[in-house]
Amino acid sequence: MSLLESENISKAFGGIHALDTCSIIVEEGTITGLIGPNGSGKTTLFNIITGYERSDTGIVRFNGHTITNSTPDKVFRLGIGRTFQLTRIFPRMTVLENMHVAAQRQGTRALLSRWSSKHEQKRALELLDFVGITQLKDMPAENLSYGQKKLLEFAFILIAEPQVILLDEPAGGINPVMIAQLSERIRTLNKQGVTFLVVEHNMEFVMGLCNTVTVLHRGTKIAEGVPGEVRNNPAVLEAYLGD
């Protein structure tokens, strides 16, 4: 049984079919790449899986449970974390405060507990260290550079220890050194058992990192397989290079 799967998801915005009976599978322990030309429905699929948008038809399954059209907080608490294409952090809070938001798992006990318990504080600092921005911990997050914001978003997802992480263009707009570091971090986490689903336009990054790649075109899956195979698939080449 696969960890995360979407089955025949369709979604239309007005007359535009963003997704058309789209089925993808993410096996546990993999780094799965999700690629496709602009407008092929990758982000829409992310939004539907994580509860930010409702699908018109189809089913999303996670760990065997149906989570179709669930709400974002429920999806996250089940163990699916995500980042956004346009990084979304909390600009007016400090980096450290940002780290603690995602550790909201106590529900009603939240009112009675300090946000900076020793254990969580330590964990937050460890993760900031892991992505390499510890020195910025007391800065308002809005002062961070674009790349640093991406790292922060990645780090605060990790604090809740999700089983699967959906990354929406993690390498977009950050420098090559940082991209290499990011790949390294993703591999490390993957070895520790975290599953990844990665949307990315940087093919070098995707082909180097992912075990398996799924290609979307016009809202439908047109290919899947190991990177080398997908790269030479005629349907994929046609989708990218145009009609």
């Binding site: 907080d73 999806v75 007016r92 909201q104 507990s113 946000w115 550079s145 809740a160 420098n175 093919m203």
Partner: protein
């Protein structure tokens, strides 16, 4: 540093406690009582609006409900004048909070401008009801509360001053508690990006509603206390649109979402308003001067006094420690900025 802070707070508290004993002129203590009323109400309002960023302009509803609850409780339970009515304040607050549950639930289904408009609408609905539900409110004839005739003119303001101070401390303590809890962190996250917060497991709906109800509780208690202080209530004064604007302005001036901002705002604006009223007499010029004063403040301190001072302090510290920034950090950031631009452009396919 922490010890100095605590010592300063204790000193400040002592000053508040001693104030009406040192300046015992009733004309002055009356201004002090009003200042504390508004400081407590603005602090309560700040727990919701300051932390979540949702600007509620209908908290006069809870002020009015607290006032009417107080009047009706005193009337129906035959409470004599004196200290007993003060004991009913928490009940008045709870009744206001109970009204806030459905009203908040409805209003919080919307965001931003729509939310502001809906809260204003709830205010008008409640004011109209106070006029028209005569069998409860006596309509525009108003209700009267017990008047403590055996308190001398010199003494009269003191009990109200200290009760208001107690409510202010309670509101401030709650505000501090919220700000330092996981819950408060969730509220701040809602202020910055509500959908992102939801996607990190923050239960945004219940979080917002709890804050809304908490703030209504404090405003309701102040409404009840104000009613007892005045001795009578009428719909336009219990449900007063100026009250909505006043507490919001105080929080804006002092600094939204800061612990002491609303109190600072009240400490400046209430005495200023009262003073301007006295020196201009019946002419109404006081409102114009008040407006001008306000525009000047907004122009010079758009974020409020406390955040502006905080920023100036940070800048000053940063300028002093500029040499201490490790060179590695500085270069990566610069390098990165360059790369960001170039990669953003070629963000196309290179299969």
């Amino acid at each position: 540093m922490k010890i100095i802070r605590i010592a300063l707070l204790i000193l400040l508290l002592a000053a508040f406690i001693a104030f009406p004993l040192v300046f015992s002129d009733p004309a002055i203590t009356e201004v002090a009582v009003f200042t504390l009323f508004f400081a407590a109400a603005a602090s309560g309002w700040n727990i919701f609006s300051g932390y979540t960023g949702y600007i509620a302009l209908g908290h006069a509803v809870y002020f009015g409900v607290g006032a009417y609850a107080m009047a009706l409780l005193c009337q129906d339970l035959n409470i004599p004048a004196g200290y007993t009515p003060f004991l009913l304040l928490p009940v008045a607050g709870l009744i206001a909070a109970a009204f806030a549950v459905p009203l908040g639930w409805i209003a919080l289904r919307t965001r931003r401008h729509t939310f502001v408009v809906i809260t204003i609408a709830t205010f008008f609905i409640m004011q109209l009801m106070a006029y028209n539900l005569r069998f409860i409110t006596q309509g525009s004839a108003g209700l009267s509360l017990p008047i403590p005739f055996d308190w001398s003119a010199d003494f009269f303001n003191l009990p109200f001053y200290y009760v208001a101070l107690a409510i202010l401390l309670l509101a401030l303590g709650t505000s501090w508690w919220v700000r330092n809890s996981k819950y408060g962190l969730g509220l701040l996250a809602i202020r910055d990006d509500e959908d992102r917060a939801l996607g990190l497991g923050v239960k945004t709906g219940p979080f917002k509603l709890i804050a809304f109800v908490l703030s209504a509780f404090f405003v309701g208690m102040i409404g009840g206390l104000h009613a007892y202080f005045n001795g009578s209530i009428f719909p336009p004064f219990a449900f007063d649109a100026l009250f909505d604007v006043a507490i919001a302005l105080m929080a804006f001036l002092g600094g939204m979402g800061t612990l002491f901002g609303p109190i600072l705002g009240a400490l400046i604006l209430v005495p200023a308003q009262q003073y301007l009223t006295i020196i201009s007499g019946e002419t109404g010029y006081n409102l114009i001067m008040y407006g001008v004063l306000f525009l000047v403040i907004i122009l010079l301190l758009p974020q409020g006094i406390i955040p502006t001072l905080g920023k100036m302090w940070h800048k000053w510290v940063a300028r002093r420690s500029i040499k201490e920034i490790p060179p590695a950090v500085a270069t990566t950031t610069a390098q990165e900025a360059l790369v960001t631009e170039s990669t953003a452009k070629k963000d196309e396919v290179n299969l």
